[in-house]
Structures are given as C-alpha cells and as structure tokens.
C-alpha cells in the first residue's frame, strides 16, 4: 500500500510540474479552452486517485475545482481572473497536501480550505480573493511551512528513472568489473607492490558494493504483481459465477523487474485454472460445508537466491481419476503406467501437454494453452513448478524462481578442451566414470550406465556438441554428471572434467546459435573469455530423453524405494558373538570406545562408566567383553541411555525388505534382509524396558559421609563420587545415603539408606562392610543407587 501511495504522490507531483506552465498561460488568458482542459484533467485525476486512498479533504478540494472548471468547459460560466486565482490556490494546496501525505502527517481540514472552496463560487469570488489567497500562504509560512518544508526535503527519497538508464549503469559496472579483473591479472604478473595493492583492494571492494546496489536497483517488490491480481480474480470469478477472496503474504519480497514480468502470464494462467477448475460454485461449496466464498492465497518467500511462490486455492482439488483417464485416452501413458504412479505423480500429469480436467472448454480456461506452457515458461527463466492437491480441500502450486533472470548458479565443466557451464539446479550427483559403482552398458546405439541400481541413459557432451564421436569416447576416463530435469527424467552427461561452482551472469545469444538448441546463453568469465551455458532440457528433448517410456517406470520404482528407505535407517554391527545385528539408527546417539576398566559387571547387572556417568550395559548376552578396548553403541530412548557392547560397528544400512517378526525372541523386533542376508533387528522397547534408568547425572543421589573423619574425606569421598553420588553438604537435610564408620555416633541427619563401614576385615555380623572392601562397597553403593532408580 505504501508503494501505491508513493506512486500517487509521485504522479501528483509530476502533474503539478507539468501543469505549472499551463497555469501561468491560463492566468494570462483565462478564456483559453485548451488550458482549462489540461487543468481540468489534472484535478480530475487527483480526485479519482483520492477516492482510492480515502483522503476526503483532498477529494473535496479537487472536486470543487473540477466542478468549477466543468462549468467553464460547458460554457455556463466565464473563466475570469478571480476563478483562475481560486483554482490556482487550490492546486497549490493540493501540492502542499501531497507533501504532508508523504511526510506521513495527518491531513486536517482548516478554515482556509473551506475558504478556498468558497472562493470558487461565482459570486463570492471577489470578496474571498482578497482575504483568502494572500492569507492562506501567509498562515502557512508562519506556523507550518518551515518545518513542513524541512521535512519535505528529508522525505524526498525516491526519484523516477528510466529502466534503460539503469541497464546502462549495470552494463557499465559489469565493464568495470572486467577491467578490474584485467588489472588484477596484470598486477599479479607484476609482482607485489604494496603501494598499489592497497588502493586496488579498496577499489575492488567498492566495486563489489556498487555492483550489489545496482542489482538491487533492478529489484521490485512482488507487491507490484500482487496489486493487479485482485481485479483479475474479481473479474474472473464474476464471469464464472463464483465468489473468490484473495489473500497475499510476502508482498515485500523483492524480485528482478524482468522476472516479475516473466511470471505475470504463468501466474495469470494458474489463477484462471484455480478459479475455473478449482474453486466450486457457492452452492456446491455450501453443500460441502465450506464457506461460500473461495479463498485464493498467494504466499511468497525468499530463500537464498531463490523465491518460492505458493498459490493455494481451497477448491475441490485435482481429480486424479479423471486426469488419469484423459492421459490414457490421449495416449500419453498406458493404463499400466498410470497404475504404477503414486498420487503425487498423478498430480503432475496436469503439466502434460494436451490434458485438461475441464470437460467443456470455457471462455476462461481449457483453451489448449495448458499448464504445460506454464511450466515451459517458468523453466525457461530457470524456475520450476510442482503441484500438490488434496481431494476436496484444494490445490497448491509451488513455484520456485531464481532471484534474477541474469544470474544463475552453474557448474563449469570442460569437454573437448573448452569450458561450459551447466545450470546447477539440474545436477543431482557427480561420479567418476572409473568408479566401481558405475557400470557402462550399451543398448543399440544408446549408452547406458548403471549406478546405485538404476540404469540411466548416458550422453557424452562431446558427442552432443559434435566435437567427438561416441565411438572414440573413452567412457571410463570421463566424469559423469547426473542430471535430473524438472520433469524428473534422469540422465548422465559425460564430460572431460568438472571444474568449479560459479555464479554467472547470463547473456542472451544470437538466434543463429539458439537454433542449435544446445545453449541457453553465454557468460563472460572473469578474464573476459566467453563461456556457453548448456541448455540441458533442450538437449534431453532432442535426444528423446524426456518423458520416455524407458525412464518413467524406472523412476516409479526408485521413488517407491525411497519411501521405504527413508522410513527405516539402521545401523549394522557385529555383536560380541560376531553375528551381524542391526539397531534402528534413530536410537543410536553415538559410538564410544572405552577400555575394559570402565565396565562394572556384577551378576546379572552390568554397567559401564562413560564420561563420569554410569550407564546400563547391554549386549553381554551374546558373549563376553573383549580384552582391552571395546566398542559401545550408546542408545537412547530420549530419556534414558543404554550402552550396547559390540565387537565391531559395521555400517549404516537401510531396511528395504519386510521385517519378519519372530515371536520367540522378545529381544529382537524381527529379522530383515540386508544385502540378501538375514539380520536380526534389536527391539528397542524390550531393551529399554530392561535397562532404562533415569539419567543419573541429572539427579545424582546424595550421600552423607562423616565430615570429621580424614579417612572418609580422602579415601571414601572420591570413591563414592565416582560411583555417581553427590556428597551431601552441611546444610542438606536429607540424604539418599549415609555412610557411618562403625562405632561412631550416628549422625542426626536423615538418610533413606545407611551403609556402615568397619575398620576390621573380620565380619562383625552386623551388616557392616570392611572399609577396604572396595567391591563390597561399590556393590552396596550400586544397590542403593539402582534400588532407588527402580
């Protein structure tokens, strides 16, 4: 809204300036019809705009002037000097008000305004002229004009510039950057020269800043685009007998001016579709229990150098059933292919050429120009579009757009001794042809590679460009760039070498080069040499790799694989008996390696001390602990932790097959196949049921020891602390445990448990422990501790 307001003020000012000369000329000859017309247009425009913005005072003034002028134009009134003066006073006041609006001040109607309007009256003219016109400016000057003028200067923060000028400046800065680079190279060659290097560095930094600012100058808020949409939505919905509300979010996101123009048409098309096919009629909506008025939401976000724009309607959603039928009927897919598609893939069918869910061609959409064109247009500017939909709840289109048309993130590769740029957003992975995981195969004339269990077609860039024959190509020496197109088709592109990531400024190329359909543009490297930007979608299209039957089913398997894979990641390990087992990766917090001293095994209870914490130890049922160091998996259920002793940590794996549940052994969830071999999966539930303890370090038990005994302080205290206790301070009322020396007077402090130590090894038969019986003491401490935990 602010932007609109600024525009209104700028427009008013511009017209004021233009009408300035007209006003003077009119004053000289009040009966000049041409002048009257011009001035009439001015006040008329101001009046129209005011209504839009709700400035009643401005509207009243301009309306009054307009009325008076209209009288003159209709010949009902003679324009006399009095009228001229009155109109001029009003126009001055309009300019004055425009300044106030820009300064963000409240517009208050004062008596002068009423007088100004009264001055327009044919008979009141003379009388008012004498006291108002001189007085109004005078009053202004005395108390209001000076601060307002100062403020006016302060808020004069926008000017209008022709875009061509901006582009020219942009080009100039680009030239400067190249000249700078050239200079930098020469300076490098000339060796270090501190007197020159310093200023040169500064120059470079300034240039970089200027470049950023210039780029920002070309940005425009998305608001510009949004403001035109409510009207479009209104017109369309009334044409189609629907009621649609629009909601915007993220209008402050800035986008390259050209990009905004580029997405205007696709956006319009999406809106048409949404209103025509998406949003139901009010009656239908009521029947479905929705609000009568449909909602169309636009949300924009910036993330890095990408803008995401989401257009959501709350209509009926995409009818995948009908879409599928149409796809089959149109011969784009076979029924079998449709059946193997996921719901999300079916939604993407709306981007197939020649498909529309509208049975009847309406005036608004379904005229053959479909979503395929929208997608093609967006891809041409480096964007992408996907759709998601829920039956009965609505449809969302997700648009991803690069921030500017001109800067693209690329990967530079070389082929045949020359460098090329590949848009990075298509690149999925890079592998060496010599890698073991890559297998080459040939089917007819087509090269194929097998990688990660997928067979994808492979092109050699040299062959595509015609610089080297496939026959002579040594595939194993190449680097393979795996490319995933927006249509989800995957292929591999073999290049000689992959060099670097680079953000390049893309320039258009001549039509004769465009005709090759190999290149999307060109860019100049820092040293000024041109580099071609490869047009991957077009190459894929030419080589028949898009939408081919061969690639689609492979893709279906792949995605369905993925769903299972992502569901259960596992960690494979060898238990103490050397057998392979697995545990859910989510349970594993970390892997520790500890020496055998850290273990404390006593009967059925085993514990390990790690970083000053005693943790329950599991996994011993499979074998005994190795000598020396041992690997532990530290598992956590979110609250308690358990360490699991293993002989070796093998690998991370993914559970791809079914889990065969075995009822006999409660310690395992079941058995699954990993790389063709059965692997038991540890049951986390059972494990934590047995071993779970609250984390001891968080709430250590307190232990009271005799304060006045040297032995207790120097020898007993460290031992007790190492076992996970906190020594009770003087002021603690209640301790979990108290240790007394036999024969001492029992302390008055409260303790839930008591251990008594005796100085002699002889068993006194009173339940006390010999003070150097370390094991006995530790076991007792542990008993108390775990007893408390249980």
């Amino acid at each position: 809204m602010d932007e609109l307001l600024a525009e209104f003020i700028a427009e008013t000012r511009e017209m004021l300036e233009q009408s300035g000369t007209e006003l003077v000329a009119w004053e000289a000859d009040p009966s000049d019809r041409a002048r009257i017309d011009t001035i009439f247009r001015f006040v008329h425009t101001v009046k129209g705009n005011c209504g839009f913005f709700d400035f009643p005072l401005l509207e009243k003034l301009s309306h009054a002037a307009e009325d008076a002028l209209a009288e003159c134009r209709a010949g009902r009134r003679e324009a006399d000097p009095a009228l001229v003066t009155a109109v001029l006073a009003i126009i001055d006041r309009i300019g004055n008000l425009a300044d106030l609006i820009e300064a963000g001040e409240e517009l208050v109607e004062d008596q002068n305004d009423a007088a100004l309007i009264a001055a327009l009256e044919a008979d009141a003219a003379i009388e008012v002229q004498s006291d108002v016109t001189p007085v109004a400016p005078a009053a202004d000057e005395e108390d209001g004009a000076a601060p307002v003028a100062a403020k006016r200067n302060a808020v004069q923060r926008s000017i209008r510039l022709p875009v061509d000028l901006l582009d020219e400046v942009m080009k100039g800065v680009s030239d400067m950057v190249l000249a700078r680079n050239d200079l930098a190279r020469r300076l490098r060659e000339a060796g270090e020269q501190p007197t020159i290097d310093g200023p040169f560095e500064r120059l470079s930094a300034i240039l970089a800043d200027v470049r950023t600012s210039i780029t920002r100058m070309r940005m425009q808020r998305l608001e510009h685009l949004f403001t035109s949409l409510p009207r479009l939505v209104r017109d369309l919905s009334s044409e189609l007998g629907k009621q649609v509300m629009v909601d915007f979010e993220g209008g402050e996101v800035e986008l390259d001016r050209e990009m905004i123009e580029m997405i205007r048409d696709p956006l319009t098309h999406i809106i048409r579709n949404a209103i025509d096919h998406g949003v139901e009629t009010p009656a239908e909506r009521l029947k479905k229990g929705k609000r009568e008025i449909g909602l169309l939401r636009f949300a924009a976000r910036q993330s890095g150098n990408q803008i995401s724009l989401i257009i959501t309607d709350d209509g009926g959603g995409i009818d995948t059933g009908r879409l599928s039928q149409k796809a089959v009927a149109a011969g784009i897919y076979s029924q079998a292919e449709i059946d193997s598609m996921s719901q999300a893939q079916k939604h993407q069918l709306i981007f197939e050429p020649g498909l529309s869910t509208a049975d009847e061609v309406s005036a608004v959409s379904g005229r053959g120009v479909g979503m395929d064109v929208v997608r093609a247009n967006l891809e041409r500017v480096g964007g992408s579009i996907t759709v998601s939909s829920k039956p009965g709840e609505g449809t969302s289109f997700h648009l991803h757009l690069p921030l500017t048309l001109s800067i693209i993130a690329t990967l530079t590769v070389s082929s045949g001794g020359q460098n090329y740029a590949i848009p990075r957003n298509y690149i999925e992975e890079i592998v060496f042809g010599s890698a073991n995981s890559v297998e080459f195969a040939q089917a007819g004339a087509r090269r194929l590679i097998t990688f990660r269990g997928r067979r994808v077609p492979c092109l050699s860039l040299a062959d595509v460009l015609g610089t080297e024959d496939n026959e002579r190509c040594e595939w194993e020496t190449k680097t393979l760039v795996l490319v995933r197109l927006a249509s989800d088709d995957v292929f591999a592109l073999a290049v000689d070498r992959v060099h670097d990531h680079e953000d390049v400024v893309v320039k258009p190329i001549a039509p004769a080069i465009m005709q090759t359909k190999l290149y999307a543009g060109t860019t100049l490297l820092d040293d000024g040499t041109p580099m071609m930007l490869i047009d991957l979608p077009s190459i894929a299209q030419m080589r028949g790799l898009v939408g081919e039957m061969r690639s689609k089913p492979a893709l279906v398997e792949e995605t369905s694989d993925k769903q299972v894979k992502t569901a259960v990641p596992l960690m494979l390990f060898a238990g103490l008996d050397g057998r392979r087992r697995a545990v859910r990766l989510e349970l594993v917090r970390r892997i520790d390696t500890v020496s055998s001293e850290a273990f404390d095994i006593d009967g059925t209870r085993a514990q390990a001390v790690i970083n000053g914490r005693i943790l329950p130890l599991a996994g011993l049922e499979h074998g005994s602990l190795p000598e020396g160091r041992c690997r532990l998996l530290r598992l956590s259920d979110g609250e308690s932790e358990v360490v699991y002793a293993v002989s070796e940590v093998l690998d991370a794996a993914e559970m791809t097959g079914d889990l065969v549940v075995s009822g006999d052994d409660p310690t395992i969830e079941g058995v699954t196949l990993i790389e063709g071999k059965p692997v038991p999966l540890i049951d986390g539930h059972t494990l934590f049921f047995h071993y779970a303890t609250p984390r001891p370090i968080a709430h250590p038990l307190t232990c009271r020891i005799p304060r006045d005994n040297d032995w207790a302080r120097t020898i007993l205290e460290p031992l007790v602390e190492a076992a996970g206790y906190r020594i009770a301070a003087e002021g603690d009322d209640e301790a979990d445990l108290a240790i007394h020396m036999a024969g001492d007077v029992v302390d008055a402090g409260q303790a839930r448990e008591t251990i008594r130590l005796r100085p002699d090894p002889e068993d006194a038969g009173d339940g006390s422990i010999y003070r150097y019986d370390r094991e006995g003491l530790l076991a007792e401490l542990k008993r108390v501790r775990t007893g408390r935990a249980a």
């Binding site: 030239d175 015609g466 041109p530």
Partner: protein, 144 residues
C-alpha cells in the same frame, strides 16, 4: 544517395556495409568456438562486457573459403539487440556512396545475389552493398 559505406573485401571482392549500422571495427584476437553451430558462425568474442557472435561473411554468403586476413578485422553491428562481429577479409575506409543503389542486369552471381542489396558507385569503383540481415541468416542451405 549519399550514404556512408564501410568499404571492405569479402571473398576477394570489394563490398560495402552501410556504415551507419556499424558500431565499430575491431581486430579480433580470440574466438571461443561454439560446437554445434553452422560453419559461418565462428564463435564468440568478447567486447568489453559483451559477447559478440562472430560471423564469417564469406561462409555466410555461401562461399567455400572462409575469410582470410592476417589481422582478422570485423565490423560490429547490432541486430535485434544482439551484437555480431562480421568477419571480412579486410576493412578499409568509410567512403561516400556516389550513386544510387542499382541492380545489375543478370544479377550479381552466386552468393552475392541473395545477400547483395545491389551495386553502388564509389570513388573506388563499383561495390556490392551487402544486406547484413541476410548475412546473419547464413547461407541458403541453412536459412531454408
């Protein structure tokens, strides 16, 4: 017709390019070839922050021999917002046309006929005025 003409040699013949269309004449030192393009497009060459498409005029007219010159001079022209460097055998002075454009009875002969607008008299004798749009479009086999 007093138009200024850039006098040049293309495929060994005197020719002229409308001088008003020519932004500059430059000597090209490096050309980045573009694989996959027709022969008459030599590649790209940088001019400040612009990339020019280098077109070999002789090949573009349909001759077999490419332009040959030691200093590789080219006339820079702009067509539809794209900059081209028209590579010629040699580029001489700018001179004034001393006659109107006239058609030659019997035509200009292969290659020239299609891309030549006609003949003009200059102080150096008659020259063929070439149509730069036609040159950019390339030889007939490709233009078709």
């Amino acid at each position: 017709m007093n138009d200024l003409l850039l006098m040049c040699t293309i495929a060994g013949r005197n020719a002229a390019i409308p001088a008003l269309r020519v932004q500059t004449v430059l000597e090209i030192d490096s050309i980045t070839p573009i694989p996959g393009t027709p022969d008459f497009i030599c590649g790209l060459t940088p001019l400040r922050s612009q990339a020019l498409t280098v077109v070999d005029c002789a090949l573009a007219l349909g001759f077999d021999e490419p332009c040959s010159s030691p200093d590789r001079r080219a006339a820079v022209v702009e067509i539809d917002g794209h900059l081209y460097a028209l590579l010629v055998d040699s580029a001489q002075d700018v001179s004034q046309a001393e006659s109107d454009l006239v058609a030659i009875p019997g035509g200009l002969g292969d290659g020239w006929q299609r891309a030549g607008l006609g003949m003009v008299e200059t102080e150096n004798g008659p020259v063929v005025l070439v149509d730069i749009e036609k040159i950019i479009a390339g030889p007939p086999a490709l233009a078709a």
